[in-house]
């Protein structure tokens, strides 16, 4: 699977790796489906372009989470917080546009060498941290050293593991060298929000307050600053506009982040007017909120996927015929209609719809593992799995509805699945130790399709605890990392998708929508899948 033709990595260079570039490349390489999928990219919300934005006001944001453990980019492991909250407090080298293309943030431009090993970023002039200190390349050196320090135990150190050299030739230049080409590097290590590994932090602030306090009252470089005395790990905190942000002062004065662990409470709070926006929206409440004329529900494709994985270590699930029987027993459209009230897309693979540059529209291709009940029954007979009682593990994160819909579907081919619904901690331990017959595996919030593929389908992937091991899949996965040309990566992911479908590495089932709701007077909400940028949000009051 070595590259078929020489690849010019420099296409990843800045200041804009966008849909337009990708589209041109896609047309050139004849990936028509890919180009078509880009047309259907997410749209910004119904913010009226006619009105002049107004400065001022407070946005009360209900964030559906029980706690925000830390706001230190180097330590934050909660993916949803990284996408929804962190971008307001911390700028980074680059950021996403609405198609998850990559555009400048603190770096005004960057280059990637043709061999994909050297990255060079040029920082903007006059950028500062919230405490007024200028941001220079030395701050990135400090951040790099901090993240990779073993004593610091950053969960993001692995994203910098292949960096062999980190240099700051002058105040505005950051260069680094990788040991091997790693295509998702910009997305997973450098973006505002998810790219926590290289999100710059103020050395002076950390020395003054210590790592622990810094997690509660971080000094970053984003459009909003935390109000230190308001931070409460389980209640939330306030963020105020940062006048010195390079992009100009945000319109809002304040964002009150209120943690609401109970979804129905958040919905009531929004309806009662105690909250101006809630993130995300529970699927069960979509209709109720969407039919309320005072509210706007933003619906976007997500970066996640889920599908049924079957444990190769537990016969009969090592038998591809048995796995195919399971896959063909699931009517994906009925599944998303019943389990998610239609607020999900039937899945044929692990490439999520938000990654428009690689996503394959299910309508345009044949899915070898798609729904066919007659064939599923025949395969079940052939594999001798009729009457088998597989244990399905599940948890609140997956949800009872999807689990129950899956169970019902499998009874159609004569299985008698036993659902073992567990608390998250127990569930996580069980799937990680391989203690299950099958479950709805998948990825959650990703910056690049690499996260949702490599971890689960590579033979050495940390989340591959069900024993999938395919030389073809490994080679394709390695090729996606070694290729920086996104059109080529898209092609490789699509080729991989067919391998995964045929092997039934997973019976792919769905991608849920990313839902965000706000009052109609909240304007300027930008639709970026699973990322929230609030600097252009304003209140029409």
């Amino acid at each position: 699977m070595e590259s078929r033709h020489p690849i010019d990595w420099s296409v990843l260079s800045g200041p804009y790796v966008s849909r337009r570039t990708l589209m041109k490349l896609a047309m050139g390489t004849g990936a028509a489906a890919f180009a078509a999928s880009l047309q259907a990219s997410p749209k910004a919300s119904a913010a009226s372009a006619l009105q002049e934005p107004v400065t001022g006001g407070t946005l009360r944001l209900g964030f559906l989470n029980s706690q925000i453990v830390t706001l230190d980019p180097g330590l934050l492991a909660q993916g949803v917080v990284a996408g929804s909250i962190l971008p307001s407090l911390h700028s980074s080298l680059v950021q996403f546009d609405t198609d998850l293309g990559i555009i400048p943030d603190l770096a005004e431009d960057w280059t990637v060498s043709e061999d994909g090993l050297s990255y060079s970023f040029t920082l903007r002039e006059g950028i500062t941290f919230h405490n007024g200190d200028a941001i220079t390349s030395a701050d990135f050196q400090y951040t790099f050293d901090r993240t990779t320090n073993p004593d610091f135990a950053s969960p993001h150190a692995n994203k910098l593991a292949s960096v062999t050299d980190f240099q700051t030739p002058d105040e505005r230049t950051v260069t680094l060298t990788l040991s091997d080409p790693f295509a998702p590097f910009l997305a997973v290590a450098c973006t505002r929000g998810p790219g926590r590994a290289l999100t710059p932090v103020s050395a002076r602030a950390i020395e003054e307050m210590g790592d622990e306090q810094f997690g509660m009252t971080p000094v970053g470089s984003g459009p909003f600053m935390i109000v230190p005395e308001t931070y409460d790990v389980g209640q939330g905190f306030d963020m105020v506009a940062f006048d010195g942000w390079y992009g100009g002062r945000p319109y809002l004065d304040t964002i009150e982040v209120r943690l609401v662990p109970e979804p129905s409470s958040a919905v009531s709070g929004l309806e009662a007017g105690d909250l101006d926006a809630i993130d995300p929206v529970p699927a069960t409440s979509f209709e109720q909120l969407n039919s309320n004329s005072d509210l706007v529900v933003l619906q976007q494709p997500s970066t996640m996927w889920r599908g049924v994985v079957m444990n190769y270590a537990r016969p009969p699930w090592d038998n591809p015929v048995a796995r195919m029987a399971v896959s063909k027993a699931i009517d994906r459209q009925a599944f998303v209609d019943t389990a998610f009230f239609g607020l999900a897309t039937p899945g044929i693979g692990a490439i999520a719809p938000a990654f428009g540059w690689a996503y394959v529209d299910p309508a345009t291709v044949e899915n070898p593992q798609g729904y066919n009940l007659d064939e599923a029954k025949a395969l079940a007979e052939e594999a001798g799995i009729v009457g088998v009682q597989p244990v399905i593990i599940s948890s609140e994160e997956i949800g009872q509805r999807p689990t129950e819909v899956l169970r019902t579907a499998l009874t159609e081919i004569g299985l008698d699945p036993q659902v073992d619904f567990q608390q998250a901690a127990t569930f996580n331990e069980r799937w990680q130790s391989g203690d299950f017959d099958l479950f709805l595996h998948g990825s959650v919030v990703d910056a690049d399709p690499d996260d949702g593929h490599w971890n689960i389908f590579h033979s050495t992937g940390p989340w591959n605890t069900y024993g999938y091991n395919s030389a073809d899949a490994d080679a394709l996965l390695e090729a996606t990392r070694a290729t920086s040309d996104q059109a080529e990566r898209a092609r490789l992911f699509q080729e991989l998708q067919v391998v995964l479908q045929t092997d039934v590495a997973a019976a792919f089932v769905y991608h849920v929508f990313d839902l965000f709701a706000h009052h109609a007077d909240v304007q300027g909400v930008v639709g970026i899948p699973e990322q929230r940028y609030y600097e252009k949000v304003w209140l029409d009051r």
């Binding site: 969960p155 997690g215 389980g234 943690l259 109970e262 901690a425 996580n428 069980r430």
Partner: protein, 315 residues
């Protein structure tokens, strides 16, 4: 009295130590790994090992226990695995909310239970009595969180009388902001409490009303309100106070679910989160706190007896 108190306090200390030990081992028997939980999607075996070492979870359970007990004796309850905040800080921010909520629920509960209980007893076997019993039955049967959601829909979403969620600090935000956020959750918790108390008020009052000294009081010409207030209630209240104390458990356990619904981060919500996260130090610390509250509440009830009934003396 002093000797009695000292004896009780020593007993209490042993009881609390027993609870602490039990919780320490019980939470570790529950499947689930706090480190895995904390890393979430960033989990890799290397990151997990590094974190385990950082948190001291790579040591044996025995040495963890000894260390925890040692720290505890020095007044150090440790720090949360999940959030890094110290257990003492979590309690300091959470306990006032839970106590405020419990206080409001208690006042609402007693405020409902006393008049309805008395009324039901005085109008025994009339439709008022039956209605009160029916309402009490519904009140006991209704889960607090469900009632809470109902109250939010009616009084916050539809009528807009009260905020739907959150908590306000009495000191910073003023009494009005504080109380208006506690009334709905207070009703949600206080209703079940009121229903139980009301049954005891009714039963206690009925029993005393038929006793000889009440007949005597009436015979000597005391007016009926005086009979009830001065003669009957004091005796009828003894079992009620006992139940009030025992049912503090109901109030506290009620706050757990209701704090979730109303998005108030009191100790109940902290405890739930800690259990889900397998946050050992936090679970241990809060269960210990609850044990202390219970032991002290029971002690307070025993002492209160002497105030209500001068015949009761402790030696």
């Amino acid at each position: 009295m002093a000797r009695y108190l000292i004896r009780r306090l020593i007993h209490s200390a042993f009881l609390i130590w027993g609870v602490a030990t039990l919780v320490f081992f019980a939470i570790r028997l529950v499947p689930g790994d706090p480190v895995v939980q904390m890393l979430g999607p960033e989990y890799t075996p290397e990151a997990a090992d590094a974190m385990r070492q950082k948190l001291g979870l790579d040591e044996s359970i025995g040495s963890q226990y000894v260390k925890w007990m040692g720290d505890l004796l020095r007044g150090d309850m440790g720090s949360s695995i999940a959030t890094n905040e110290t257990v003492v800080d979590a309690i300091r921010t959470g306990l006032p909310k839970t106590l405020s909520l419990s206080l409001v629920a208690f006042i609402i509960g007693v405020g409902i239970a006393l008049p309805t209980g008395i009324l039901a007893a005085l109008k025994r076997n009339t439709w008022i009595d039956y209605l009160a019993s029916l309402i009490a039955f519904i009140g006991v049967s209704m889960p607090g969180f469900w009632l809470g959601i109902l109250l939010i829909i009616v009084f916050s979403v539809n009528l807009g009388w009260f905020p739907a969620l959150g908590y306000a600090e009495l000191r910073d935000d003023g009494f009005r902001a504080w109380i208006e956020r506690l009334i709905l959750p207070g009703i949600a918790i206080g209703t079940a409490y009121a229903a139980i108390l009301m049954r005891f008020v009714r039963a206690g009052l009925l029993e005393t009303m038929s006793s000889d000294y009440i007949r005597t009081a009436r015979a000597k010409g005391v007016a009926e309100p005086g009979v009830i207030a001065r003669h009957a209630m004091r005796n009828a209240l003894i079992p009620v106070v006992t139940v009030m104390g025992i049912q503090l458990a109901l109030l506290l356990s009620g706050t757990v679910a209701v704090e979730m619904v109303f998005s108030i981060r009191g100790i109940g919500r902290i405890l739930i989160g800690a259990i889900f996260d397998r946050d050992y130090p936090m679970v241990q610390g809060i269960v210990l706190l609850i044990a202390v509250i219970f032991v002290l509440a029971n002690l307070a009830v025993d002492i209160l007896y002497t105030a209500i009934d001068p015949r009761i003396r402790y030696a």
